[in-house]
Protein backbone atom coordinates (compact mmCIF):
# COMPACT_ATOMS: atom_id res chain seq x y z
CA UNK A 1 0.00 0.00 0.00
CA UNK A 2 2.93 2.33 -0.58
CA UNK A 3 1.84 5.71 -1.84
CA UNK A 4 3.80 8.75 -2.90
CA UNK A 5 4.76 11.25 -0.25
CA UNK A 6 2.25 13.83 -1.44
CA UNK A 7 -0.55 11.37 -0.80
CA UNK A 8 0.91 10.56 2.58
CA UNK A 9 1.04 14.21 3.59
CA UNK A 10 -2.64 14.45 2.71
CA UNK A 11 -3.35 11.45 4.92
CA UNK A 12 -1.37 13.07 7.74
CA UNK A 13 -3.52 16.16 7.49
CA UNK A 14 -6.68 14.06 7.69
CA UNK A 15 -5.28 12.13 10.67
CA UNK A 16 -4.53 15.36 12.51
CA UNK A 17 -8.11 16.51 11.88
CA UNK A 18 -9.38 13.17 13.22
CA UNK A 19 -7.25 13.60 16.33
CA UNK A 20 -8.66 17.03 17.12
CA UNK A 21 -12.22 15.77 16.63
CA UNK A 22 -11.65 12.67 18.75
CA UNK A 23 -10.11 14.63 21.61
CA UNK A 24 -12.92 17.17 21.55
CA UNK A 25 -15.56 14.43 21.51
CA UNK A 26 -13.90 12.43 24.30
CA UNK A 27 -12.93 15.42 26.43
CA UNK A 28 -9.86 13.44 27.39
CA UNK A 29 -6.55 12.41 25.88
CA UNK A 30 -3.10 13.62 24.89
CA UNK A 31 -3.02 16.25 22.20
CA UNK A 32 0.59 17.32 21.70
CA UNK A 33 2.07 13.82 21.37
CA UNK A 34 -0.71 12.56 19.13
CA UNK A 35 0.01 15.41 16.71
CA UNK A 36 3.79 14.96 16.88
CA UNK A 37 3.50 11.21 16.23
CA UNK A 38 1.19 11.53 13.23
CA UNK A 39 3.72 11.59 10.39
CA UNK A 40 5.68 8.71 11.92
CA UNK A 41 2.59 6.50 12.11
CA UNK A 42 1.38 7.51 8.64
CA UNK A 43 4.81 6.69 7.21
CA UNK A 44 4.86 3.32 8.97
CA UNK A 45 1.34 2.19 8.01
CA UNK A 46 1.21 3.66 4.50
CA UNK A 47 4.82 3.59 3.41
CA UNK A 48 6.86 1.11 5.39
CA UNK A 49 5.23 -1.82 7.14
CA UNK A 50 4.05 -5.06 5.62
CA UNK A 51 0.60 -5.53 7.05
CA UNK A 52 -2.90 -6.51 6.02
CA UNK A 53 -5.86 -4.73 7.63
CA UNK A 54 -8.13 -7.56 6.48
CA UNK A 55 -5.92 -10.09 8.22
CA UNK A 56 -4.56 -8.33 11.30
CA UNK A 57 -3.00 -11.52 12.66
CA UNK A 58 -1.15 -12.37 9.44
CA UNK A 59 1.89 -14.28 10.67
CA UNK A 60 4.47 -12.44 8.59
CA UNK A 61 3.19 -8.91 9.22
CA UNK A 62 5.64 -6.39 10.58
CA UNK A 63 5.01 -5.68 14.24
CA UNK A 64 4.56 -2.22 15.71
CA UNK A 65 4.74 -1.61 19.45
CA UNK A 66 3.48 1.86 20.35
CA UNK A 67 5.18 2.18 23.70
CA UNK A 68 3.94 5.76 24.06
CA UNK A 69 0.37 4.49 24.21
CA UNK A 70 -1.02 7.86 25.24
CA UNK A 71 -0.63 8.98 21.60
CA UNK A 72 -3.24 6.41 20.53
CA UNK A 73 -5.68 8.89 18.97
CA UNK A 74 -3.12 9.13 16.14
CA UNK A 75 -2.79 5.34 16.05
CA UNK A 76 -6.56 4.78 15.98
CA UNK A 77 -7.03 7.24 13.15
CA UNK A 78 -4.24 5.64 11.11
CA UNK A 79 -5.66 2.16 11.76
CA UNK A 80 -9.13 3.27 10.68
CA UNK A 81 -7.78 4.98 7.57
CA UNK A 82 -5.79 1.85 6.75
CA UNK A 83 -9.00 -0.17 6.89
CA UNK A 84 -8.75 -1.99 10.21
CA UNK A 85 -12.17 -0.73 11.33
CA UNK A 86 -14.84 1.74 10.18
CA UNK A 87 -14.10 5.45 10.56
CA UNK A 88 -17.28 5.98 12.64
CA UNK A 89 -15.68 4.03 15.44
CA UNK A 90 -13.28 6.90 16.08
CA UNK A 91 -16.13 8.78 17.73
CA UNK A 92 -16.22 6.18 20.50
CA UNK A 93 -12.62 6.78 21.58
CA UNK A 94 -12.25 6.57 25.39
CA UNK A 95 -15.97 6.09 25.91
CA UNK A 96 -17.71 3.34 27.85
CA UNK A 97 -17.80 -0.04 26.05
CA UNK A 98 -15.57 1.17 23.22
CA UNK A 99 -12.80 -0.98 21.79
CA UNK A 100 -10.81 2.24 21.45
CA UNK A 101 -9.62 2.52 25.03
CA UNK A 102 -7.99 5.64 26.44
CA UNK A 103 -4.77 3.69 26.20
CA UNK A 104 -4.64 0.93 23.58
CA UNK A 105 -5.48 -2.64 24.61
CA UNK A 106 -4.56 -5.68 22.62
CA UNK A 107 -7.47 -7.73 23.94
CA UNK A 108 -10.00 -5.10 22.87
CA UNK A 109 -8.93 -4.11 19.36
CA UNK A 110 -7.47 -6.13 16.52
CA UNK A 111 -4.45 -4.47 15.03
CA UNK A 112 -3.06 -3.47 18.43
CA UNK A 113 0.09 -5.50 18.88
CA UNK A 114 0.34 -5.00 22.62
CA UNK A 115 -1.33 -3.12 25.44
CA UNK A 116 0.54 0.04 26.36
CA UNK A 117 0.32 3.19 28.42
CA UNK A 118 2.54 2.70 31.45
CA UNK A 119 5.75 4.10 29.98
CA UNK A 120 9.06 2.36 29.47
CA UNK A 121 7.70 -1.12 28.77
CA UNK A 122 7.37 -1.13 24.99
CA UNK A 123 10.92 -1.53 23.76
CA UNK A 124 11.45 -4.61 25.91
CA UNK A 125 8.32 -6.22 24.47
CA UNK A 126 9.52 -5.35 20.99
CA UNK A 127 12.83 -7.01 21.90
CA UNK A 128 10.94 -10.16 22.92
CA UNK A 129 9.07 -10.17 19.61
CA UNK A 130 12.28 -9.63 17.63
CA UNK A 131 14.08 -12.39 19.53
CA UNK A 132 11.15 -14.78 19.04
CA UNK A 133 10.99 -13.91 15.34
CA UNK A 134 14.65 -14.73 14.95
CA UNK A 135 14.24 -18.04 16.80
CA UNK A 136 11.54 -18.98 14.31
CA UNK A 137 13.51 -17.72 11.29
CA UNK A 138 10.64 -15.33 10.56
CA UNK A 139 11.20 -12.40 8.26
CA UNK A 140 8.97 -9.83 9.90
CA UNK A 141 10.53 -6.69 11.32
CA UNK A 142 9.64 -5.17 14.64
CA UNK A 143 9.09 -1.43 14.99
CA UNK A 144 8.71 0.37 18.26
CA UNK A 145 7.81 3.98 18.88
CA UNK A 146 8.71 5.65 22.17
CA UNK A 147 8.40 9.15 23.51
CA UNK A 148 11.48 11.09 24.54
CA UNK A 149 10.33 11.31 28.16
CA UNK A 150 10.17 7.51 28.28
CA UNK A 151 13.93 7.66 28.46
CA UNK A 152 13.48 8.55 32.13
CA UNK A 153 12.30 4.95 32.70
CA UNK A 154 14.76 2.26 33.82
CA UNK A 155 12.85 -0.50 32.03
CA UNK A 156 13.58 1.21 28.71
CA UNK A 157 17.33 1.26 29.25
CA UNK A 158 17.32 -2.37 30.33
CA UNK A 159 15.84 -3.12 26.93
CA UNK A 160 18.40 -0.90 25.18
CA UNK A 161 21.15 -3.05 26.73
CA UNK A 162 19.36 -6.26 25.80
CA UNK A 163 18.79 -5.35 22.14
CA UNK A 164 22.48 -4.56 21.73
CA UNK A 165 23.60 -7.74 23.50
CA UNK A 166 21.53 -9.94 21.20
CA UNK A 167 22.25 -7.77 18.13
CA UNK A 168 18.56 -7.46 17.26
CA UNK A 169 19.00 -5.96 13.81
CA UNK A 170 15.37 -6.85 12.98
CA UNK A 171 14.31 -4.20 15.50
CA UNK A 172 13.87 -0.50 14.70
CA UNK A 173 13.14 2.04 17.39
CA UNK A 174 11.62 5.39 16.44
CA UNK A 175 11.91 8.10 19.09
CA UNK A 176 9.32 10.87 19.01
CA UNK A 177 11.70 13.63 20.09
CA UNK A 178 9.15 16.38 20.69
CA UNK A 179 10.97 17.81 23.72
CA UNK A 180 8.00 17.99 26.07
CA UNK A 181 6.45 16.01 28.88
CA UNK A 182 3.78 16.76 31.50
CA UNK A 183 6.12 18.86 33.64
CA UNK A 184 7.43 20.93 30.76
CA UNK A 185 10.62 20.66 28.72
CA UNK A 186 12.21 17.20 28.81
CA UNK A 187 15.60 18.74 29.53
CA UNK A 188 14.21 20.45 32.64
CA UNK A 189 12.28 17.47 33.99
CA UNK A 190 15.20 15.07 33.41
CA UNK A 191 17.88 15.80 30.83
CA UNK A 192 18.27 12.98 28.32
CA UNK A 193 20.78 14.63 26.00
CA UNK A 194 23.10 13.79 24.41
CA UNK A 195 20.63 11.18 23.21
CA UNK A 196 22.36 10.18 19.98
CA UNK A 197 25.66 9.65 21.77
CA UNK A 198 23.93 7.59 24.43
CA UNK A 199 22.53 5.13 21.86
CA UNK A 200 25.88 5.01 20.06
CA UNK A 201 27.60 4.21 23.35
CA UNK A 202 25.09 1.41 23.90
CA UNK A 203 26.15 -0.11 20.55
CA UNK A 204 23.13 0.88 18.51
CA UNK A 205 22.99 2.14 14.96
CA UNK A 206 21.59 5.68 15.22
CA UNK A 207 19.91 7.94 12.66
CA UNK A 208 18.79 11.53 13.17
CA UNK A 209 15.89 12.77 11.06
CA UNK A 210 13.13 15.33 10.74
CA UNK A 211 10.15 13.43 12.14
CA UNK A 212 7.69 15.38 10.01
CA UNK A 213 9.44 14.62 6.71
CA UNK A 214 7.66 11.47 5.59
CA UNK A 215 10.24 10.75 2.90
CA UNK A 216 13.00 10.99 5.47
CA UNK A 217 11.17 8.58 7.78
CA UNK A 218 10.75 6.02 4.99
CA UNK A 219 14.37 6.42 3.87
CA UNK A 220 15.71 6.02 7.41
CA UNK A 221 13.75 2.80 7.88
CA UNK A 222 15.24 1.51 4.61
CA UNK A 223 18.65 2.35 5.96
CA UNK A 224 17.86 0.46 9.17
CA UNK A 225 16.93 -2.60 7.10
CA UNK A 226 20.43 -2.66 5.63
CA UNK A 227 22.05 -2.78 9.09
CA UNK A 228 22.52 -6.45 9.92
CA UNK A 229 24.46 -6.48 13.18
CA UNK A 230 22.81 -3.86 15.38
CA UNK A 231 19.38 -2.56 16.33
CA UNK A 232 18.63 0.89 14.92
CA UNK A 233 17.33 3.92 16.77
CA UNK A 234 15.83 6.66 14.62
CA UNK A 235 15.68 9.93 16.52
CA UNK A 236 12.74 11.65 14.86
CA UNK A 237 12.86 15.33 15.71
CA UNK A 238 9.27 16.46 15.96
CA UNK A 239 7.21 19.39 17.18
CA UNK A 240 4.72 18.83 19.98
CA UNK A 241 1.25 19.79 18.78
CA UNK A 242 2.49 19.88 15.16
CA UNK A 243 0.13 21.56 12.72
CA UNK A 244 -1.76 23.78 15.15
CA UNK A 245 0.06 27.08 15.71
CA UNK A 246 -1.19 27.74 19.22
CA UNK A 247 -0.28 24.21 20.35
CA UNK A 248 3.12 23.82 18.72
CA UNK A 249 5.97 23.33 21.16
CA UNK A 250 3.79 23.89 24.20
CA UNK A 251 4.00 21.41 27.08
CA UNK A 252 0.63 22.56 28.42
CA UNK A 253 -0.94 20.65 25.50
CA UNK A 254 0.62 17.36 26.58
CA UNK A 255 -2.46 16.09 28.39
CA UNK A 256 -4.89 18.93 27.65
CA UNK A 257 -7.63 18.64 25.06
CA UNK A 258 -9.12 21.45 22.97
CA UNK A 259 -12.49 22.98 23.83
CA UNK A 260 -15.03 23.69 21.10
CA UNK A 261 -13.56 27.03 20.07
CA UNK A 262 -9.99 25.79 20.15
CA UNK A 263 -10.95 22.73 18.13
CA UNK A 264 -12.63 24.92 15.50
CA UNK A 265 -9.51 27.08 15.27
CA UNK A 266 -7.30 24.00 15.04
CA UNK A 267 -9.42 22.41 12.29
CA UNK A 268 -9.27 25.66 10.34
CA UNK A 269 -5.48 25.57 10.42
CA UNK A 270 -5.31 21.90 9.46
Amino acid sequence: MVKNSNDLSKISREVRRDIVKMLLEAGSGHTAGSLSMTDILVALYFGVMHHDPKNPNWKDRDRLVVSNGHTCPALYSVLARSGYFPMQKLKTYAKLNSSLQGHPEREKLEGIETTSGPLGCGLAQACGMAYAGRLDNSHFRVFCTVSDAEHDEGNHWEAVLFAAKYKLSNLTLIIDRNNIQIEGNTEDAMPIEPLKEKYLAFNWNVLDIDGHDINAIIKSVDEARREDSKPTAIIAHTVAGKGVSFMEGKAEWHARVPNKEEAALALKEL
Binding site: V65, C127, A132, A159
Partner: protein, 331 residues
Protein backbone atom coordinates in the same frame (compact mmCIF):
# COMPACT_ATOMS: atom_id res chain seq x y z
CA UNK B 1 -5.47 -40.40 59.01
CA UNK B 2 -3.82 -40.24 55.64
CA UNK B 3 -6.27 -40.21 52.75
CA UNK B 4 -5.23 -43.34 50.87
CA UNK B 5 -6.60 -42.09 47.55
CA UNK B 6 -3.86 -39.47 47.56
CA UNK B 7 -1.09 -42.09 47.35
CA UNK B 8 1.16 -39.96 49.51
CA UNK B 9 4.58 -40.93 50.80
CA UNK B 10 4.16 -43.60 53.49
CA UNK B 11 7.48 -42.66 55.10
CA UNK B 12 6.28 -39.11 55.65
CA UNK B 13 6.27 -39.38 59.45
CA UNK B 14 9.60 -41.21 59.80
CA UNK B 15 12.07 -39.74 62.26
CA UNK B 16 14.46 -38.60 59.54
CA UNK B 17 12.30 -38.23 56.47
CA UNK B 18 13.83 -37.81 53.05
CA UNK B 19 14.07 -34.13 52.18
CA UNK B 20 14.00 -32.88 48.61
CA UNK B 21 14.30 -29.53 46.96
CA UNK B 22 11.26 -27.89 45.43
CA UNK B 23 13.38 -25.80 43.06
CA UNK B 24 15.18 -28.96 41.84
CA UNK B 25 11.77 -30.31 40.93
CA UNK B 26 11.13 -27.14 38.93
CA UNK B 27 14.50 -27.19 37.14
CA UNK B 28 14.29 -30.89 36.26
CA UNK B 29 10.71 -30.66 35.05
CA UNK B 30 11.48 -27.62 32.93
CA UNK B 31 14.36 -29.36 31.18
CA UNK B 32 12.12 -32.35 30.44
CA UNK B 33 9.31 -30.19 29.12
CA UNK B 34 11.78 -28.18 27.05
CA UNK B 35 12.79 -31.33 25.25
CA UNK B 36 9.22 -32.06 24.15
CA UNK B 37 7.99 -28.54 23.57
CA UNK B 38 10.19 -26.29 21.44
CA UNK B 39 8.08 -23.23 22.26
CA UNK B 40 9.36 -23.20 25.83
CA UNK B 41 11.89 -20.42 26.41
CA UNK B 42 13.50 -19.55 29.72
CA UNK B 43 14.63 -16.11 30.85
CA UNK B 44 16.50 -15.31 34.02
CA UNK B 45 17.73 -12.16 35.72
CA UNK B 46 21.19 -13.31 36.78
CA UNK B 47 19.85 -16.19 38.88
CA UNK B 48 20.29 -19.18 36.61
CA UNK B 49 21.82 -21.51 39.18
CA UNK B 50 19.75 -20.66 42.24
CA UNK B 51 16.48 -20.82 40.33
CA UNK B 52 17.70 -24.14 38.89
CA UNK B 53 17.30 -23.27 35.22
CA UNK B 54 20.96 -24.04 34.47
CA UNK B 55 19.85 -27.51 33.34
CA UNK B 56 17.60 -26.00 30.70
CA UNK B 57 20.31 -23.48 29.75
CA UNK B 58 22.85 -26.25 29.12
CA UNK B 59 20.44 -28.32 27.07
CA UNK B 60 18.82 -25.53 25.03
CA UNK B 61 21.19 -22.56 24.91
CA UNK B 62 19.36 -20.86 22.03
CA UNK B 63 16.13 -20.90 24.04
CA UNK B 64 17.76 -19.64 27.21
CA UNK B 65 17.95 -15.87 27.62
CA UNK B 66 20.03 -14.06 30.22
CA UNK B 67 18.75 -10.52 30.71
CA UNK B 68 21.15 -9.48 33.47
CA UNK B 69 20.01 -8.03 36.79
CA UNK B 70 17.00 -6.44 35.14
CA UNK B 71 13.70 -7.82 36.40
CA UNK B 72 11.55 -5.28 34.60
CA UNK B 73 13.12 -6.29 31.30
CA UNK B 74 12.80 -9.94 32.32
CA UNK B 75 9.01 -9.70 32.41
CA UNK B 76 8.49 -7.34 29.49
CA UNK B 77 10.79 -9.21 27.10
CA UNK B 78 8.96 -12.40 28.07
CA UNK B 79 5.66 -10.69 27.32
CA UNK B 80 6.81 -9.89 23.78
CA UNK B 81 7.95 -13.47 23.27
CA UNK B 82 4.69 -14.90 24.62
CA UNK B 83 2.75 -12.77 22.17
CA UNK B 84 4.73 -14.44 19.39
CA UNK B 85 3.66 -17.90 20.50
CA UNK B 86 6.49 -18.75 22.87
CA UNK B 87 5.91 -20.06 26.38
CA UNK B 88 8.36 -18.03 28.44
CA UNK B 89 9.30 -18.95 31.99
CA UNK B 90 10.88 -16.00 33.83
CA UNK B 91 12.93 -16.78 36.89
CA UNK B 92 14.06 -14.56 39.71
CA UNK B 93 13.55 -14.36 43.45
CA UNK B 94 9.94 -13.65 44.35
CA UNK B 95 10.95 -10.40 46.11
CA UNK B 96 12.22 -9.09 42.76
CA UNK B 97 9.64 -10.63 40.47
CA UNK B 98 6.75 -10.30 41.10
CA UNK B 99 8.01 -7.99 43.88
CA UNK B 100 9.55 -5.29 41.70
CA UNK B 101 7.63 -6.06 38.53
CA UNK B 102 3.98 -5.64 39.47
CA UNK B 103 3.34 -2.96 36.84
CA UNK B 104 5.02 -4.97 34.10
CA UNK B 105 3.12 -8.12 35.07
CA UNK B 106 -0.16 -6.28 35.41
CA UNK B 107 -0.06 -4.43 32.09
CA UNK B 108 2.05 -6.52 29.76
CA UNK B 109 1.17 -10.02 31.01
CA UNK B 110 -2.19 -10.09 32.82
CA UNK B 111 -4.05 -7.31 30.96
CA UNK B 112 -2.33 -8.30 27.72
CA UNK B 113 -3.41 -11.87 28.51
CA UNK B 114 -0.27 -13.60 27.23
CA UNK B 115 1.04 -16.86 28.71
CA UNK B 116 4.14 -15.70 30.57
CA UNK B 117 5.05 -17.98 33.47
CA UNK B 118 6.41 -15.91 36.34
CA UNK B 119 8.50 -18.09 38.61
CA UNK B 120 9.21 -16.55 42.02
CA UNK B 121 11.93 -18.45 43.81
CA UNK B 122 13.06 -18.20 47.46
CA UNK B 123 9.51 -17.19 48.31
CA UNK B 124 8.63 -16.97 51.99
CA UNK B 125 11.36 -17.09 54.62
CA UNK B 126 13.64 -19.44 52.66
CA UNK B 127 16.29 -16.82 51.93
CA UNK B 128 16.99 -17.08 55.69
CA UNK B 129 20.30 -15.37 56.53
CA UNK B 130 19.93 -12.89 53.64
CA UNK B 131 17.32 -11.13 55.74
CA UNK B 132 13.99 -9.50 55.09
CA UNK B 133 15.12 -7.72 51.89
CA UNK B 134 15.22 -11.13 50.22
CA UNK B 135 12.22 -12.75 51.90
CA UNK B 136 9.05 -12.48 49.82
CA UNK B 137 6.05 -12.44 52.12
CA UNK B 138 3.74 -10.32 49.98
CA UNK B 139 3.77 -12.01 46.59
CA UNK B 140 0.59 -14.06 47.00
CA UNK B 141 -1.31 -10.90 47.91
CA UNK B 142 0.07 -9.08 44.88
CA UNK B 143 -0.57 -11.84 42.39
CA UNK B 144 -3.97 -13.05 43.49
CA UNK B 145 -5.57 -9.67 42.79
CA UNK B 146 -4.66 -9.73 39.10
CA UNK B 147 -7.43 -10.75 36.68
CA UNK B 148 -6.44 -13.53 34.21
CA UNK B 149 -3.64 -14.77 36.49
CA UNK B 150 -3.20 -18.35 37.74
CA UNK B 151 -1.40 -18.58 41.09
CA UNK B 152 0.12 -21.91 42.04
CA UNK B 153 2.13 -22.93 45.12
CA UNK B 154 3.38 -26.51 45.09
CA UNK B 155 4.16 -28.19 48.41
CA UNK B 156 7.06 -30.48 47.51
CA UNK B 157 9.44 -31.75 44.84
CA UNK B 158 6.99 -34.09 43.08
CA UNK B 159 4.14 -31.63 43.11
CA UNK B 160 6.42 -28.92 41.73
CA UNK B 161 7.23 -31.14 38.75
CA UNK B 162 3.53 -31.64 38.04
CA UNK B 163 2.72 -27.97 38.56
CA UNK B 164 5.50 -26.91 36.19
CA UNK B 165 4.22 -29.33 33.59
CA UNK B 166 0.62 -28.12 33.86
CA UNK B 167 1.55 -24.46 33.85
CA UNK B 168 3.57 -24.98 30.69
CA UNK B 169 0.41 -26.29 29.03
CA UNK B 170 -2.30 -24.02 30.41
CA UNK B 171 -1.89 -21.16 27.87
CA UNK B 172 -2.53 -18.61 30.66
CA UNK B 173 -0.55 -15.97 32.53
CA UNK B 174 0.66 -17.88 35.58
CA UNK B 175 2.64 -17.45 38.77
CA UNK B 176 4.58 -20.35 40.24
CA UNK B 177 5.76 -19.72 43.80
CA UNK B 178 8.74 -21.76 44.91
CA UNK B 179 10.24 -22.18 48.36
CA UNK B 180 14.00 -22.40 48.73
CA UNK B 181 14.35 -24.81 51.64
CA UNK B 182 14.30 -28.56 51.21
CA UNK B 183 11.07 -30.08 52.35
CA UNK B 184 9.63 -33.44 53.29
CA UNK B 185 8.31 -35.51 50.40
CA UNK B 186 4.54 -35.56 50.79
CA UNK B 187 3.22 -36.51 47.38
CA UNK B 188 4.45 -39.22 45.04
CA UNK B 189 4.47 -39.60 41.28
CA UNK B 190 1.11 -41.35 41.61
CA UNK B 191 -0.60 -38.64 43.64
CA UNK B 192 -3.45 -36.88 41.81
CA UNK B 193 -2.81 -33.28 40.80
CA UNK B 194 -4.71 -30.68 38.88
CA UNK B 195 -4.39 -26.91 38.96
CA UNK B 196 -7.53 -25.49 40.54
CA UNK B 197 -8.32 -28.62 42.55
CA UNK B 198 -7.41 -28.74 46.23
CA UNK B 199 -6.50 -32.17 47.57
CA UNK B 200 -7.61 -33.68 50.87
CA UNK B 201 -4.44 -35.32 52.16
CA UNK B 202 -5.68 -36.22 55.62
CA UNK B 203 -9.21 -37.18 56.58
CA UNK B 204 -10.14 -37.72 60.24
CA UNK B 205 -13.17 -39.91 61.05
CA UNK B 206 -15.01 -37.20 62.96
CA UNK B 207 -12.99 -34.15 62.05
CA UNK B 208 -13.38 -31.05 64.19
CA UNK B 209 -11.19 -28.67 62.20
CA UNK B 210 -10.17 -28.18 58.56
CA UNK B 211 -6.53 -27.18 58.17
CA UNK B 212 -6.11 -25.48 54.82
CA UNK B 213 -2.46 -25.06 53.86
CA UNK B 214 -0.23 -24.35 50.90
CA UNK B 215 3.44 -24.70 50.03
CA UNK B 216 5.81 -25.68 52.81
CA UNK B 217 3.09 -25.36 55.42
CA UNK B 218 1.35 -28.46 54.05
CA UNK B 219 4.12 -30.55 55.58
CA UNK B 220 3.89 -28.71 58.90
CA UNK B 221 0.12 -29.23 58.84
CA UNK B 222 0.47 -32.96 58.31
CA UNK B 223 2.89 -33.19 61.24
CA UNK B 224 0.34 -31.29 63.30
CA UNK B 225 -2.52 -33.55 62.21
CA UNK B 226 -0.51 -36.64 63.15
CA UNK B 227 0.18 -35.26 66.64
CA UNK B 228 -3.39 -34.06 67.10
CA UNK B 229 -4.73 -37.48 66.19
CA UNK B 230 -2.68 -39.01 69.00
CA UNK B 231 -4.45 -36.59 71.35
CA UNK B 232 -7.83 -37.57 69.98
CA UNK B 233 -8.38 -34.45 67.87
CA UNK B 234 -9.39 -35.35 64.34
CA UNK B 235 -8.78 -32.96 61.45
CA UNK B 236 -8.94 -32.60 57.70
CA UNK B 237 -5.84 -31.39 55.84
CA UNK B 238 -6.39 -29.67 52.54
CA UNK B 239 -3.47 -29.00 50.24
CA UNK B 240 -4.79 -25.75 48.77
CA UNK B 241 -2.03 -25.38 46.20
CA UNK B 242 -3.92 -23.27 43.68
CA UNK B 243 -4.54 -19.81 45.09
CA UNK B 244 -6.21 -18.69 41.89
CA UNK B 245 -8.62 -20.02 40.71
CA UNK B 246 -9.27 -21.38 44.20
CA UNK B 247 -11.21 -24.61 44.69
CA UNK B 248 -14.19 -23.05 46.47
CA UNK B 249 -16.22 -26.26 46.47
CA UNK B 250 -13.72 -28.30 48.45
CA UNK B 251 -13.19 -25.48 50.95
CA UNK B 252 -16.89 -24.83 51.53
CA UNK B 253 -17.69 -28.52 51.82
CA UNK B 254 -14.91 -29.01 54.36
CA UNK B 255 -16.02 -26.01 56.41
CA UNK B 256 -19.54 -27.45 56.46
CA UNK B 257 -18.17 -30.76 57.75
CA UNK B 258 -15.95 -29.34 60.50
CA UNK B 259 -17.33 -25.88 61.29
CA UNK B 260 -13.83 -24.52 62.00
CA UNK B 261 -10.81 -23.67 59.87
CA UNK B 262 -7.10 -23.05 60.35
CA UNK B 263 -5.20 -21.66 57.37
CA UNK B 264 -1.42 -21.98 57.13
CA UNK B 265 1.04 -20.34 54.75
CA UNK B 266 4.59 -18.99 54.55
CA UNK B 267 3.40 -15.45 53.74
CA UNK B 268 1.89 -12.39 55.36
CA UNK B 269 -1.48 -13.21 56.86
CA UNK B 270 -2.77 -10.01 55.22
CA UNK B 271 -3.88 -10.71 51.69
CA UNK B 272 -2.56 -14.24 51.54
CA UNK B 273 -4.07 -17.68 50.91
CA UNK B 274 -5.90 -17.56 54.25
CA UNK B 275 -7.46 -14.24 53.32
CA UNK B 276 -8.75 -15.79 50.10
CA UNK B 277 -10.21 -18.73 52.06
CA UNK B 278 -11.87 -16.34 54.48
CA UNK B 279 -13.39 -14.35 51.61
CA UNK B 280 -14.90 -17.55 50.22
CA UNK B 281 -16.24 -18.70 53.58
CA UNK B 282 -17.65 -15.31 54.61
CA UNK B 283 -19.66 -15.29 51.41
CA UNK B 284 -20.80 -18.89 51.58
CA UNK B 285 -20.50 -20.49 55.01
CA UNK B 286 -18.94 -18.38 57.77
CA UNK B 287 -17.04 -20.36 60.42
CA UNK B 288 -14.34 -19.37 62.95
CA UNK B 289 -10.92 -19.18 61.27
CA UNK B 290 -7.43 -18.99 62.75
CA UNK B 291 -4.63 -17.77 60.51
CA UNK B 292 -1.09 -19.15 60.58
CA UNK B 293 1.30 -16.83 58.72
CA UNK B 294 3.52 -13.83 59.30
CA UNK B 295 1.52 -11.20 61.22
CA UNK B 296 2.23 -8.00 59.27
CA UNK B 297 5.95 -8.01 60.05
CA UNK B 298 9.07 -8.08 57.91
CA UNK B 299 11.33 -11.09 58.28
CA UNK B 300 14.94 -10.94 59.45
CA UNK B 301 18.22 -12.84 59.18
CA UNK B 302 18.36 -16.32 60.64
CA UNK B 303 18.06 -19.96 59.65
CA UNK B 304 14.76 -20.67 58.00
CA UNK B 305 13.73 -23.11 60.73
CA UNK B 306 14.56 -20.48 63.36
CA UNK B 307 12.42 -17.96 61.50
CA UNK B 308 9.56 -20.45 61.31
CA UNK B 309 9.70 -20.67 65.12
CA UNK B 310 10.05 -16.93 65.64
CA UNK B 311 7.11 -16.11 63.41
CA UNK B 312 5.07 -19.01 64.79
CA UNK B 313 4.41 -20.96 61.62
CA UNK B 314 5.54 -24.45 62.72
CA UNK B 315 3.47 -27.58 63.29
CA UNK B 316 3.36 -26.69 67.01
CA UNK B 317 1.79 -23.35 66.20
CA UNK B 318 -0.75 -25.06 63.97
CA UNK B 319 -1.66 -27.39 66.86
CA UNK B 320 -2.23 -24.38 69.12
CA UNK B 321 -4.34 -22.69 66.45
CA UNK B 322 -6.45 -25.84 66.11
CA UNK B 323 -7.12 -25.83 69.84
CA UNK B 324 -8.02 -22.13 69.75
CA UNK B 325 -10.43 -22.51 66.88
CA UNK B 326 -12.15 -25.47 68.54
CA UNK B 327 -12.71 -23.32 71.63
CA UNK B 328 -14.14 -20.54 69.48
CA UNK B 329 -16.40 -22.98 67.66
CA UNK B 330 -17.74 -24.41 70.89
CA UNK B 331 -18.09 -21.12 72.75
Amino acid sequence: MINKDQKINTKLFDKNPELKSIRDGFGEALAQIGEKNKDIVVLTADLKESTRVHLFAEMFPERFIEVGVAEQALVTIASGMAKEGKIPFTTSYAVFSPGRTLDQIRTTVALNNVPVKIVGAHAGLGAGPYGSTHQALEDIAIMRTLPNMVVEIPCDYEETKKATDEIAKNKLPSYLRLARQESGQITTQKSPFKIGRAEILWQGKNPQVSIIACGTLVYESLLAANELEKKGIETIIINNHTIKPMDERTIIRSAKTTGAVVTAEEHQIDGGMGSAVSEILSRNFPVPIEFIGVPNLFGESGKTEELFKKFKITSKDIIEAVKRVILRKNS
